[in-house]
């Protein structure tokens, strides 16, 4: 049945369609709807477990415990909460725990501008926890895609045995569109659990899930390998290769709009929706799998264009990655402070294409003009 559905709800419904049966979370705008829906779902659906944790640290760690116990677990948060969850993300990467984190971004750093839309967590997703790891992350730009991408995130998490991140933002999370999720739920493929739950191990071989480097095989199995670089290399590259292989199955992106234009615009999430009226002027590259970087795909496309502009609601985080992958200049249009409008997008593109700076003209502070800000502060 076609129904007006919110982006956050679509994420939740996608998770359930993918077999999720454990949610732990802490309320934070603009992701709170997912928590509310999860608690209501748990009250009416036997087998779906819900925990409202005391903080994001606890909820992220609870995902790890639940996943090891056999659940498909997930949580939803926003930038400040995701900062607290980073240690658990790294723990999940080290041990290989399938689970899904949803980050509905707002403007940071710190408490920032609750809850204006932002995309400032693109690099936090990539490098947020300590050490080296290769996370997989997706970023939908609509309600239907939010559903589909969440299912794929759960599948990729199982296949790669790692925490997978679904990025969203205030606008996508609160966007309402008419979709038929029930019909979509019939078509999806779901990857079953890939690790044996706690207590259901091979008889006589109990496992030790450790955040420290341990020998996994051979006569030293079960001993810490905390001073063995060779063992680190073996495990690190095996995990990295697995993640890259799995990511390769989800090389999701959109190449469209006026594909024979001379300028390629890179944007994703809400910005790609806001910029859509420019469809007659520019070509579009929209990464859906944000991490690992779609290097080969972008290179194959970018050769056809004279100039590349990356528009995003942060200070050029994806533009940096794109420039590194392409080895040529990617002009950046940062949309900061939650001001994501067609006007800002159009002005920004025209400014950088005419050789201007990436920064927009910055108006003087209200006090210098002798006025008060609309909110009565500053």
């Amino acid at each position: 049945m076609r129904k007006l559905t919110q982006g956050n709800e679509a994420v939740f419904r996608g998770a359930v369609a993918a077999g999720a049966d454990y949610y732990a979370g802490y309320p934070i705008s603009p992701s709170t709807e997912i928590l509310n829906i999860a608690s209501a779902w748990a009250a009416t659906h036997r087998g779906f477990h819900f925990m409202q944790a005391e903080d994001e640290i606890a909820s992220a760690n609870a995902l790890m415990g639940a996943s090891l116990a056999g659940a498909k677990s997930f949580t939803a948060t926003s930038g400040p909460g995701f900062s607290l969850m980073q240690e658990a993300v790294g723990y999940g990467q080290k041990i290989g725990i399938p689970c899904v984190f949803v980050n509905v971004q707002r403007v940071g750093p710190a408490t920032g501008m609750p809850t204006m839309p932002g995309q400032g967590d693109v690099m936090q997703v990539r490098y947020g926890s300590t050490g080296d790891y290769t996370p997989i992350a997706f970023y939908p730009n609509g309600v239907e895609e939010a559903f589909r991408v969440t299912v794929q995130a759960f599948n990729a998490a199982e296949e790669s045995r790692s925490p997978v991140i679904v990025l969203s933002d205030t606008f996508i999370g609160h966007l309402n569109e008419v979709v038929d999720l029930e019909e979509m739920a019939q078509e999806i493929e779901v990857v079953p659990r890939t690790i044996a739950p706690l207590g259901k191990h091979e008889p006589g071989h109990p496992r030790f899930f450790a955040g420290v480097l341990m020998y996994e095989h051979g006569p030293m199995a079960g001993e810490p390998a905390t001073a063995d670089a060779d063992e680190y290399l073996r495990q690190f590259y095996a995990t990295k290769q697995l993640h890259l292989d799995v990511a390769g199955r989800y090389a999701l992106y959109e190449h469209g709009w006026k594909t024979d234009a001379s300028v390629l615009v890179i944007c994703y999430g809400i910005v790609s929706r806001v910029a859509a009226p420019l469809a007659s002027e520019y070509a579009l590259f929209r990464p859906i799998r944000i991490h690992p970087m779609l290097g080969d795909e972008l290179r194959a496309i970018a050769d056809r264009y004279e100039q590349i502009v990356c528009i995003e609601a942060n200070d050029g985080q994806y533009a940096d990655m794109a420039q590194l992958a392409l080895g040529r200049e990617v002009k950046r249009v940062p949309l900061l402070g939650g001001r994501i409008s067609l006007e800002a997008v159009r002005d920004g593109i025209e400014r950088v294409l005419s050789g201007g700076p990436s920064e927009p003209p910055i108006p003087p502070a209200p006090s210098e003009r002798g006025e008060r800000s609309p909110l009565g502060i500053g």
């Binding site: 925990m51 005391e54 640290i57 609870a62 790890m64 415990g65 639940a66 207590g199 079960g222």
Partner: protein
């Protein structure tokens, strides 16, 4: 060889003796806790398919790697959220959390407070050595006032955290205090804690001779244990509060373990429903039987395991003693194999030509 010393004990198959000696310093108290835990698990008949160990960071955290149980070695301080999620999703599992005082009460303090509030059905064994041992001996949350440590060279200016008060803030939680010297008491406390349905906390004072004891004037681990023997006394039966140097068990105030509290012989205790706790009077639940904080688990999770009655425990104890007597007749090498469960006792006895019944009668 450490193997030979404990070869005749039947709990040995629960330990990864191949990995011995452990990383713990000579004189450390953690090994004692591990052995007592292994004995309790053995007595209760719990095995690696129904019991999960969740350990924290620090010296104590390594216990999971020496026991033949599925174990999760969590991040520093995060034992409780991980354990709570495991228990929530798999209520039939027994989840035992083992971590140090710093892990439990300092970096994991917030989780402790809220696991108690939610009455998570977990058993926490807190190795309380009053110091951060693995990093060399810094002030921990339970370090007594005035103690000199690496991070308080003129003496700890702060009051130690009141674990008893924290745990007792919930009417459903069980709190036990014991020490590494009082091994039988510790074993009983651990057993009661594991058998308790709701949140249970065993606060085990243990010695860290290398990174604390020597600095505060003890010459050896033995001296520290002697200190525990001389200073710690059993609390009177039925006590509702433990003084500083008292050991004992404080039962939940909600009356769910009233029979244990009174010390009656509960061989045929009725399955009494837990009384409505005082603190839950604002609950809007219509059914008193399922209301209150215990209601959540009562409604969602079936009882994980019926508690063994006294008759059953006596039978297991007798069986255990009989096996021990039989094993003592065996050659030490064979005994070791039996202890590791590589061959069954019956096969070993048959090979050695010993008739089990004959020994039992004599």
């Amino acid at each position: 060889m450490p193997e030979a010393a404990i070869a005749e004990l039947d709990f040995k198959h629960r330990l990864k003796v191949d990995l011995f000696p452990t990383i713990w310093c000579p004189g450390c108290g953690i090994g004692t806790i591990m052995i007592q835990l292994a004995m309790v698990l053995d007595e209760l008949g719990l095995d690696d398919t129904n019991t999960i160990l969740v350990t924290g960071i620090g010296c104590t955290g390594r216990m999971g790697s020496y026991m033949k149980h599925e174990a999760v070695y969590t991040l520093h301080g995060r034992t409780l959220p991980v354990a709570e999620a495991i228990k929530e999703f798999r209520p039939e599992m027994n989840v035992v959390v083992v971590s140090g005082d710093g892990d439990t009460a300092s970096i994991g303090g917030n989780h402790l407070v809220h696991a108690i509030r939610r009455n998570a059905s977990l058993t926490v064994l807190c190795n309380n050595n009053e110091i951060y041992g693995l990093t060399g001996g810094q002030t921990g949350p339970t370090t007594p006032t005035g103690t000199k440590t690496l991070s308080s060279p003129v003496g700890n200016p702060n009051t130690p955290i009141n674990l008893q008060g924290l745990v007792r803030s919930s009417p459903h939680a069980l709190y036990a205090k014991t020490t590494v010297y009082h091994q039988l008491h510790m074993r009983n406390a651990i057993r009661e804690a594991i058998e308790h349905e709701g949140f249970s906390f065993v606060d085990i004072t243990s010695q860290c001779i290398e990174n604390n004891g020597r600095r505060i004037g003890f010459a050896s681990a033995n001296e520290m244990l002697t200190f525990y023997r001389k200073t710690y006394k059993r609390a009177p039966k039925g006590a509702d509060h433990l003084e500083r140097f008292q050991i004992g068990t404080l039962y939940p105030q909600d009356g769910s373990m009233a029979e244990a509290q009174l010390g009656t012989d509960g061989s045929d205790q009725p399955d009494t429903a837990p009384a409505q706790p005082d603190g839950a009077t604002t609950s809007i639940s219509g059914s008193p039987g399922e209301g209150g904080a215990t209601g959540r688990r009562a409604a969602s999770a079936p009882s994980p395991r019926p508690a063994a009655d006294d008759e059953e425990k006596a039978r297991r104890r007798a069986e255990s003693q009989r096996r021990l007597a039989l094993m003592n007749r065996l050659d030490p090498k064979v005994k070791l194999l039996v202890a590791k469960r590589e061959i069954s006792l019956e096969d070993a006895l048959r090979d050695a030509g010993i008739d089990p019944d004959e020994v039992a009668e004599s």
